[in-house]
């Protein structure tokens, strides 16, 4: 009886404090480092520009947001993907780009990534 009580208390403490802090991409967590690692190797945009802004537009979402839903034509083309990129303090330096690097939204968009608006998690 006593043993099960102690184990129950320990489990509740771990769930309430430990796992809550180990959120998907929590600051300092293992998965947060993984998101940072993946963000370094991928671009935050999908090479389409937003029609209103003229460039790819970063849409700020809470840093606790884990995943995004991308809708697309065809079977299996609607998918749930992680949001890897997050705003950080370090200035990356001046960017070099040309306006021709980015495409406009097609007249009949077949995927939500073609609208030129991309989720980026806000800073912690």
């Amino acid at each position: 009886m006593k043993r099960s009580l102690i184990l129950a208390v320990a489990t509740v403490a771990l769930i309430a404090v430990g796992l809550a802090d180990m959120a998907w991409a929590g600051e300092g967590s293992l998965l947060g480092y993984r998101a940072k690692f993946r963000a370094k190797r991928t671009s935050w945009n999908g090479c389409y520009y937003s029609a209103e802004w003229g460039m790819p537009l970063a849409l700020v979402v809470p840093p606790t947001a884990e995943r995004q839903v991308n809708w697309g034509w065809g079977v299996g083309n609607t998918r749930v993907t992680p949001i890897w990129h997050q705003y950080r303090r370090n200035y990356p330096g001046p960017c070099q780009y040309q306006s021709g690097m980015y495409r406009s939204t097609p007249a009949w968009p077949s995927d939500t990534t073609q609208f030129g608006v991309y989720y980026v998690r806000g800073p912690w």
Binding site: D21, R41, E52, W53, V60, T64, Y97, V120, G122
Partner: protein, 138 residues
């Protein structure tokens, strides 16, 4: 024997909880001495355009011009999620200013939605035993 082992298990679990909590709380309590800073997303590995957080939201019409946040706790990205932040500033000769901000949702505020959800408390702590020089006495 079983009870002894479960006690050790409890100690190990509590130590893990403490370590995880300390790691995250260390990140939440930070000093922010610089005022007009920004947040960035670097371009991808093959170049391209980056992104910066402020001016936000975008796109803004050219009429808007530029905006500045002159007080860090009111920066709009802090309102995105429920958390608590401490701003600590050491003022030479004038003690320590400790500002605690809680960003959350109070269900009572739903009755009056125009209220600001963030609560802000600022304290100035002065150590009476510290030597602050001749020009300051608490």
């Amino acid at each position: 024997m079983v009870l002894k082992r479960s006690r050790w298990l409890l100690l190990v679990v509590l130590a893990m909880v403490w370590i995880l909590g300390a790691r995250t709380s260390e990140a939440r309590h930070r000093t922010s001495p610089d005022l007009f800073y920004n947040y960035y997303v670097p371009p991808g590995p093959c170049g391209g355009v980056g992104a910066e957080l402020y001016v936000c939201p975008r796109p803004t019409p050219p009429l808007v011009g530029h905006t500045w946040y002159t007080y860090q706790p009111l920066m709009s990205h802090e309102y995105l999620y429920q958390h608590c932040r401490h701003h600590v500033r050491r003022n030479p000769g004038a003690g320590l200013t400790w500002t605690k901000v809680r960003y959350g949702h109070n269900p009572l505020h739903a009755l009056c939605p125009t209220w600001m959800d963030g609560k802000l408390r600022s304290h100035i702590f002065v150590n009476p035993f510290a030597d602050y020089g001749n020009y300051f006495r608490p």
